[in-house]
């Protein structure tokens, strides 16, 4: 196959070596622009409804700093490991890429497990989708982010499996690059969720 040959002459920045690769990278940045509007709309909705507990549990009563801190630690670390994978990509070192991505996926799974635990816990505390406008907005925003995490885990895993056969080429390099970009983006979104949903939610009373 052509793979050996391609690998031997793999250029610098292999993700942008072909027109297809360039198109993918640009297209994905634009897609993330759209995602920003998407999350922005969800954040705006949440901010408008965050004090509308309708007699049900409030954010002050529910949120637990320890749980959220651990989740944040896991996800932010995974962001760093995904950056390490991108750096390994630029060194064209497939083994390192696979290693860092494996760690990323494990950390992501840990985050997801904590989020599922958190949601189950809140439902037991009496916060259901139908309890209040706050509940609807919370589950939608945080759940939407969680779904992005879950999708990212599946995506990266699949990529890792297929790359063991295909190796690092100008075809697979953009795929790795985009997956890392995506993962980094959902971590950035989490920073906003941590601030707007959790930190602001733990402060009593209305803001502004």
């Amino acid at each position: 196959m052509a793979n050996h040959h391609a690998h031997a002459v793999l250029p610098d920045e292999p993700e942008k070596a072909t027109l297809e690769g360039k198109n993918k990278v640009l297209g994905f940045w634009l897609f993330l622009g759209g995602e920003t509007v998407l999350f922005g709309s969800l954040f705006a909705t949440f901010i408008a409804l965050r004090d509308q507990a309708n007699g049900g549990p409030t954010s002050q009563a529910l949120f637990d700093m320890n749980l959220v801190a651990v989740a944040t630690l896991l996800l932010l670390t995974s962001s760093m490991t995904s950056v390490m994978a991108t750096l390994a990509l630029h060194k064209k070192d497939l083994k390192k890429i696979q290693l860092w991505l494996t760690i990323t996926v494990i950390l992501g799974l840990g985050f997801l497990a904590l989020e599922i635990y958190e949601f189950v816990h809140y439902v037991n505390e009496g916060l259901k989708m139908s309890t209040s406008a706050f509940a609807s907005a919370f589950y939608t925003l945080v759940g939407f982010h969680g779904a992005h995490v879950a999708f990212g885990i599946c995506w990266i895993t699949l990529l890792q499996l297929s790359a063991t056969k295909k190796g690092l080429t100008v075809v697979t390099a953009p795929k790795f690059y985009l997956a890392c970009l995506y993962w980094h983006f959902i971590d950035v979104v989490w920073v906003f969720i941590f601030t707007v949903v959790y930190l602001m939610g733990m402060i009593g009373g209305k803001v502004g």
Partner: protein, 614 residues
């Protein structure tokens, strides 16, 4: 073993169109599907006008009337004019920038099939217990379960699926225009239609996610007991209005900018002059795009946002008249002193200018908040937005279709039928909507299925309905023209109008690889520059060689079908069906991502100046 197959997969007929990733064939798919939805939306409009022809009649009744106005607005905006815009963008933009293909052929096909299945899903509501009836804006709480039926579920899911298609289509065009331009095709040499498509795609990218979120929230409220819009549980209905109009206002610019682009091309070609004030046109287009995002709350003056917000949004809205005025004057000055010809394409373009100007002026009237309190929800508003959307956009689309039909299909549309098409449609349009300004000022509210006798509303409504028949005749004449063109054996020349831009440099219809050799662009109006230099065609920028093409794929169709099936699962609360549909879609994504598609090559010796079969 070579990584590339050396021959085009041999596909024909329906299977060819179900699997195509060729932007020119996708354009034809968009045109056919958009055209069918246009006829459906037109039929709905005609039924609305028949119900309102005389006072106090029961032609369709109140319930059906609500469904008709909802579906008319939704269908026309999302399923008719947007796809026809996408048809022209797909057919023309890659040619105008000298590209072999779009950036993402597969995604392009996926965008079409998502739109198509979303539209079909929405329209099956007519046969499955009633269409949505909460208005095309689907305002909550009216759109929640207690006040409206299952139809709104079809609205939520149909638009969601179609909207995803539009979004990825927009990304495809942004990347295509940024990355795929021929050598020498700088941004300030791009034809105005390409510029307009570029800005429109940018608006799509930033506007559509807002409605995506709005539809998700409405879906959660209706299907999963959410409380976003339920005031009893702390919800807030104004959130829907904001999300809807943060999308909805840019949407009208998503619609009108490509029409502006078409008018710029047509007026310039048929005046045999370069477009007057090209760089100010580019600037005006970008400015309209930017301001389009700043004015959404002018749809909400009476919501109670307060005097400050109303003032700011009112002022921002009036500002849009400035770049739009620049455009109007530039078109007039392009014609000034030109050798003007009036084939049907230019009739529509010239008819567009005063008509759109009237719509723009009523827009400035509506932008004054205290005045808007009077006009609000009256037929004045209906008259205003039909003047811009039909008098602007639909005239623009007809102009574009008459102009580019030979390029798309290799056949000329008949000019005699075309002129009848123009005059019946043009007169019918003004008869329909001009009286509605006065009906509105006299107090006729929007969205009512009838009115009382002898309140000075009878005559205006009667004339309006007669006008609707005029537009119907115009549309039928267009269809006749299409059939006549298809049956004619005369093939269109490559450059029937003595054109100025690159698409006229290649055969009609273009071969699947567009340009045998990528052209070298040496100025604005690239082909005209060569003609003036005495050259027969474009100067090539590369030697003749093998051309790489993407393989056709059935996956876009299947992926969209999966979401279509899942949509019914949500509507009927059958989660087994949802899982089956979503899994099917994911399976297609999986297949696409693990199976690398190297495409195929067309060899140098196979290259001929022959067209695709249209």
């Amino acid at each position: 073993m070579s990584a590339h197959a050396s021959h085009a997969p041999n596909r024909s007929g329906l299977w060819d169109y179900l699997t195509t990733v060729d932007h020119k064939k996708i354009a034809i798919l968009y045109l056919i599907a958009g055209g069918i939805f246009f006829l459906a939306g037109g039929l709905e409009a005609l039924l609305i006008r028949l119900q309102l022809m005389y006072p106090e009649i029961e032609f369709v009744g109140a319930k059906t009337f609500n469904e008709l106005i909802t579906m008319h607005g939704t269908t026309m905006i999302f399923l008719a004019v947007m796809p026809i815009i996408f048809a022209l963008m797909n057919a023309i933009v890659p040619l105008q920038i000298g590209a072999r293909d779009v950036a993402f052929p597969f995604v392009n096909a996926l965008g079409f099939w998502l739109f198509f299945f979303g539209g079909v899903l929405l329209n099956t509501s007519w046969f499955l217990g009633g269409a949505p009836d909460a208005g095309w804006t689907s305002y909550t709480t009216l759109a929640l379960n207690q006040y409206s039926g299952r139809g709104v579920d079809f609205y939520v899911l149909g638009l969601q699926i179609a909207g995803l298609g539009t979004l990825i289509g927009g990304i495809n065009f942004l990347v295509t225009i940024i990355n795929m331009r021929a050598p020498g095709m700088t941004f300030m040499r791009m034809p105005m239609f390409t510029w307009a498509s570029f800005i429109t795609s940018g608006l799509i990218l930033f506007a559509f996610p807002a409605i995506t979120v709005g539809l998700v929230l409405l879906m959660f409220d209706r299907l999963f007991g959410g409380n976003f819009f339920n005031p009893d549980a702390g919800g807030n209905v104004v959130i829907w209005e904001h999300l809807f109009w943060i999308f909805g206002h840019p949407e009208v610019y998503i619609l009108i900018l490509p029409a502006f682009g078409i008018i710029s091309e047509v007026v310039s070609t048929f005046s045999r002059k370069r477009l007057f004030g090209y760089s100010s046109m580019v600037f005006a287009t970008a400015l309209i795009g930017f301001l389009g995002f700043m004015v959404w709350a002018h749809h909400m003056f009476t919501t109670g946002l307060g005097a400050i917000a109303n003032t700011l949004f009112g002022l921002a809205t009036m500002l849009i008249a400035v770049p739009t005025g620049i455009k109007i004057f530039n078109w007039l000055l392009t014609m000034w002193g030109g050798q003007i010809r009036f084939p049907t394409a230019n009739l529509f373009a010239v008819g567009f200018i005063p008509t759109f100007t009237i719509g723009g002026m009523t827009g400035v009237m509506l932008a004054v908040p205290p005045a808007d309190y009077q006009y609000h929800d009256s037929y004045f508003v209906v008259a205003h937005f039909h003047y811009v959307i039909v008098g602007g956009l639909v005239f623009g689309l007809f102009s574009g279709l008459y102009y580019w039909w030979p390029k798309m299909f290799g056949k000329m549309l008949n000019e005699t039928i075309g002129k009848w098409n123009f005059w019946t449609f043009f007169i019918g349009f003004h008869l329909t909507f001009f009286p509605q300004h006065f009906l509105g000022l006299m107090g006729m509210p929007r969205r009512v299925f009838t009115y009382l006798k002898d309140q000075n509303l009878d005559m205006g409504n009667f004339i309006s309905t007669i006008g609707a028949f005029g537009m119907t005749i115009g549309t039928i004449l267009f269809l006749i023209n299409v059939v006549v063109a298809a049956k004619s054996s005369k093939r269109a020349p490559a450059d029937p109008w003595d054109g100025r831009s690159l698409e006229w440099a290649i055969p009609s219809p273009p071969p699947e690889y567009n340009f045998v050799q990528t052209p070298l662009v040496r100025g604005l109006d690239a082909l005209w520059v060569e003609k003036m230099a005495g050259n027969k065609g474009m100067t090539p920028a590369e030697p003749i060689g093998d051309i790489h093409m993407p393989s056709p794929s059935f996956l876009p169709f299947l992926m969209s079908l999966g979401l279509f099936v899942a949509g019914y699962g949500f509507i009927y609360h059958n989660y087994v069906v949802v899982v089956i549909g979503v899994l099917a879609t994911f399976a297609c994504m999986f297949t696409r991502s693990v199976k690398d598609d190297p495409g195929y090559h067309i060899h140098e010796d196979e290259l001929e100046e022959k067209g695709v079969k249209a």
